[in-house]
């Protein structure tokens, strides 16, 4: 076993993958809790899928796909917010439309760009082993920014998550905070796409938080527990996928899902 672990860490790409996974766990642990508490799981999933449109556009124009991915994720987040506020379209309908449109655009543009079938697979299902050093840097910077924002606006996010109607009544900028939260979700989701892919992003965002909530009390403890669980799932998932030579994203999610079901049964 010890021999295996040494073997595991001797490769650069494995160390990079692990670093990216651990940084992402911090991000998931914090943003994931707000996603759960604010019941915006479906919006977050919609944002992830819509990001695919931007990724396709980036490829098509020959620019960095992730930058375009983040752009389209934020546009979607704001678009869903504005449309469901103004037009006579309910929020979940707006999400459904944005989600499918983004996916369709992504598939279309990637196909037109030719020769990127392997990348298409990577974006849909994730490939943590293909993460580069600069990706790790970007994930770390994003994680730091979001940590600072959540530290500064902790009490505001707590009021908004618990009782937004009261928040508005006492002059809290609820609408602005909500758009900020959706923007942070958009950033997180695009980072996580690298690791587990568009289809499975939502699982990594919600499962660690959901388990932590079953066992911890108080928001800070739940966040810490969620970060810890995310780190464990990423590490174990990576190890198993390396040993058995199976896809890393799916292994990470299946590990998390298994623990979630066991934890749910145990806490009944």
């Amino acid at each position: 076993m010890i021999e295996l672990q040494l073997d595991f860490f001797q490769y650069d790409f494995m160390r990079t993958a692990l670093a990216a996974g651990l940084a992402a766990s911090v991000l998931c642990g914090i943003i994931g809790i707000y996603v759960i508490l604010n019941k915006i799981v479906f919006i977050s999933d919609g944002i992830a899928h819509a990001a695919f449109g931007g990724i396709g556009l980036g490829y098509f124009l020959g620019f960095d796909p992730l930058v375009f991915g983040i752009g389209s994720a934020i546009l979607t987040a704001l678009g869903i917010g504005v449309i469901s506020h103004r037009a006579r379209v309910s929020e979940d309908t707006a999400i459904g439309v944005f989600m499918a449109t983004g996916m369709a655009l992504g598939v279309m543009l990637l196909t037109l760009s030719r020769g990127y079938a392997r990348d298409l697979y990577g974006y849909l299902f994730g490939n943590i082993l293909a993460v580069t050093g600069s990706d790790v840097l970007m994930i770390s910077i994003l994680t730091t920014i979001i940590l600072v924002l959540v530290f500064l606006l902790y009490k505001e996010f707590l009021i908004m998550s618990f009782d937004p109607i009261y928040g508005e009544a006492i002059g809290l900028p609820v609408q602005g905070l909500r758009l900020l939260l959706l923007t942070m979700v958009a950033f997180s989701v695009v980072v996580l796409i690298k690791i587990v892919g568009i289809i499975m992003v939502i699982a990594l965002l919600t499962i660690p938080g959901a388990i932590s909530r079953q066992h911890m009390k108080g928001l800070p403890a739940i966040m810490a527990g969620s970060i810890f669980l995310g780190a464990v799932f990423v590490t174990i998932g990576l190890l198993i996928s390396y040993m058995l030579d199976v896809p890393s994203g799916a292994t990470i999610i299946l590990t998390a899902a298994l623990v979630f079901f066991l934890s749910t049964i145990a806490s009944r």
């Binding site: 508490l37 500064l152 606006l153 902790y154 009490k155 505001e156 707590l158 009021i159 998550s161 618990f162 009782d163 109607i165 009261y166 928040g167 508005e168 009544a169 006492i170 002059g171 809290l172 900028p173 909530r213 911890m216 009390k217 108080g218 928001l219 739940i222």
Partner: protein, 251 residues
Amino acid sequence: MTTVSIKGLWVCRAEHAVLEDINLELEPSDFLGLIGPNGGGKSTLLKVMLGLIKPDRGEIRIFGLTPEAARGRVGYMPQKTMFDQSFPVKVLDVVLMGRYSRTGLFHRYGPEDRAAARRALEAVKMDDRAEREIGALSGGEQQRVFVARSLVSDPELLLLDEPTAGVDSAQQTEFYDLLSHLNHDLGIAIVMVSHDVTAISKYVSKIACLNQRLYYHGSKEITNDDIEKAYGCPVEMIAHGTPHRVLREHD
């Protein structure tokens, strides 16, 4: 100085009036019960007092100030909110939320905020529950915590929107006694929206009936005529013993 002064106030939505020519004066010691049919504009009037809805016409002053400027001196308890009963937050932290208007954006709560939260919990006799999770409390206890949240900024005026919805009658009586105490002993003016005329008439000092127009005579007296106009149908009014009256609405 008058606590609330509203003169000729109109609020319109999509071409029709929600509030029509509202006039209301309240003194610092007043406890006003605001009754009226659903959709009659009761919540809207509270929101105007909080500065969340701008009147289309007329004037409103709270402590002689605009509602926005007075917000720090007003406590508000919304209609029973459907918060997630398993939300991971302690009672003390819920009460602290009421300090937001004093603490402001980005600032953290300090020791004086925590002391105020403890005092507010003592005022509603919930100080022994401070460290419990909010979802672990009964409906009546939760209502008390939300009153504490509206008290924690040391308001001179409390606005309560149907505060006893979903609370059983024994707890309601205790709750109204608590409000009487706040009104009499701490000198906090209260405006309470309710549909339960029977229950509130014993506790409030004034009653107003709202259905677009406000039927109010600066007292606890409401005439049969007022009620019929407001509810738009004949309403049975039973005087049962003195001094309080019981009004009941026909279905």
